[in-house]
Symmetry: C2
Subunit: 350 residues, 2 copies
């Protein structure tokens, strides 16, 4: 275990709770013992217990960014109307993760987690802790959308509505290559020591290399060409943006946590539930589903997201315009959240 | 110096000549002494000396691929009509390069080369060796197009027609980041030894990492999603494609040569000739110019190429359709060369 202040409530993450769901038998065969989920709630569960919304989290993120950007009385995810539960994914640093799990499952011995493991753990939290048996909505962006897709396939009768944002239901081959380059950039740093480093900061060279590759596809070409790192992020040059934004973003995080998340991201595939048949999986979805894609997304191009949507029975496709590409998810521009809120409000009214 | 059979006529490159242009004073301030250009010619220079075509080369390529794919009686670049000179860029392994230059300019001490240095050296070869004072056409793809752009700005009265294929006139910010990730992938290999390795094969881990990042953007997302590595390249899986095509392609090459080319690629900018003003540079072009872009190119997106074209006085924009993205340049599909030939024939008839 490593003490990393970044993942604590006091230093960065804001107030969150932790729920121990016990032993989680994982899809890969190992059992994660004493598995904990970090979560935060907003609003109140009504008597009928039918106003619950589950919000999932993306790569390198936690509930903090979802709370800050997506939840509030001014948003579709309004705590005055809904009981909103944001659950941090396993391996992200706050929920059970390589750096906060005791031996013998610590660090490089932390077991491999799949999207399906997260969703089963979240189901346990929602049913056991809150007695929730119906979700008014499940939503999340990127890896959060991978979890959203998994939810509607795995628990079709529990989810009334779903809004996966900026992800496909199955990882694309291009994303498989992309995520490999992230892993290689980090793991090639000798200081990573096969996952047994003493301090995440020692692995900064590998982390920096990874940050640059993330930057390559996370934003759009227009973001760079129009120097939106100046206008949107207030960075003074490309180098300033790379050092003081991209590398700075990843610097306090745990290298192994990022690697475990990338491993999971790379393998997201709802067709694991239907013998490898993606069409069957998508057609099995009962939730009223809005598939949201971001116009300039180089991770999950809109036409790939739309191809999924077309196979989901009760669904609509919505294109969110943003030159920030995939990272528009972070809500840098008010215009982004206005579009997402409009979609979610419409979906919630149906 | 390192003996690398890959760059010899016998082993891979086919027949090529070498012309020593002597000392080349470089834009970065150093002088490359005994600078040699590798070149190959096809057809005959007519008496009027007005049927010469210059073909330039791209990153990791030499005249071999240009000869094989672009030149022949069935192509627009027809040796029965034109005197075609293909010149390999400096630093590519055949022309003066880190691995074939003697001390004190060998290996990591090889001086940094810019696109403008190549073009001045090519000018010397064409005028001194062949007495050519007018070029019917300059064309090349990718870094070859960077040289093409440099030619028409630097020698506006010598070039009658130009066809830059799949490149912008100035490197984009996104490409700056991309090329940095290539450098970092390779240079982070301890076996690179700051450029003083004993054998390029020792640096394979870094080269392999680089190959994967090249693959990420060199092809299109559709290329991966539609498994065109099977249909177009005959590879049996994504891993087979990565190992037996992408990594295999780079494996015999010299790591320093690739790094010097990337350094040059990263800094291509015709506005260096006009005090940093790109518009002035593009408007100064006198050549009849066809700007060719590839529909699915993630290196040089069509709309960025077209933005350049709009500023060139006597120019037209042509979109080449290919789901191979930037690497369509290699002519994997007959459909690609048919489109390029049609464009070049039309341009040459004007």
């Amino acid at each position: 275990m490593i003490k990393n202040p970044f993942y604590t409530s006091e230093h960065f993450q804001g107030k969150y709770e932790s729920y121990e769901i016990g032993s989680l038998e994982l899809e890969e065969g190992e059992t994660l013992r004493g598995c904990k989920l970090a979560y935060r709630t907003f609003g109140h569960l009504n008597a009928a217990k039918d106003n619950a919304i589950l919000v999932t989290t993306w790569f390198s993120g936690t509930g903090k960014i979802m709370e800050d950007v997506y939840v509030g009385p001014e948003h579709a995810l309004d705590p005055n109307k809904y009981f909103i539960v944001i659950v941090d994914q396993i391996g992200c640093g706050t929920s059970s993760s390589p750096q906060n799990t005791p031996a013998p499952q610590s660090m490089a011995k932390f077991p491999k987690i799949r999207i399906g493991d997260d969703v089963r753990a979240q189901h346990k939290l929602l049913t056991e802790k809150f007695g929730i048996t119906q979700l008014a909505l499940v939503t999340g962006g990127s890896m959060g959308a991978q979890q959203t897709y998994e939810w509607v396939v795995r628990y079709p009768d529990m989810v009334k509505r779903a809004a996966p944002i900026a992800s496909t239901a199955r990882i694309s081959r291009h994303q498989i290559i992309f995520t490999e380059t992230l892993q290689e950039a980090l793991m090639s740093d000798p200081a990573w020591k096969d996952g047994w480093y003493e301090d995440g900061m020692h692995v900064r060279r590998g982390m920096d290399r990874m940050a640059k590759i993330v930057a390559l596809q996370g934003w759009s070409q227009e973001f760079y060409q129009e120097e939106r790192f100046r206008t949107i992020l207030g960075m003074s040059s490309l180098t300033d943006f790379m050092n003081s934004f991209m590398k700075a973003y990843f610097e306090p995080m745990d290298p192994n946590a990022l690697l475990y998340e990338v491993w999971k991201w790379q393998r997201a595939d709802i067709s694991r539930n239907t013998g490898g048949n993606l069409e069957t999986a998508l057609k099995s979805i009962k939730a009223k589903t809005f598939v949201l894609a971001i116009s300039h997304d180089m991770f999950f191009p809109p036409h790939e997201c739309e191809a999924d949507q077309k196979l989901i029975p009760d669904s609509q496709f919505r294109l969110i315009e943003s030159k920030e590409g995939h990272f528009a998810l972070n809500g840098f521009e008010p215009k982004y959240m206005e579009q997402v809120d409009a979609c979610l409000r419409e979906l919630l009214s149906m």
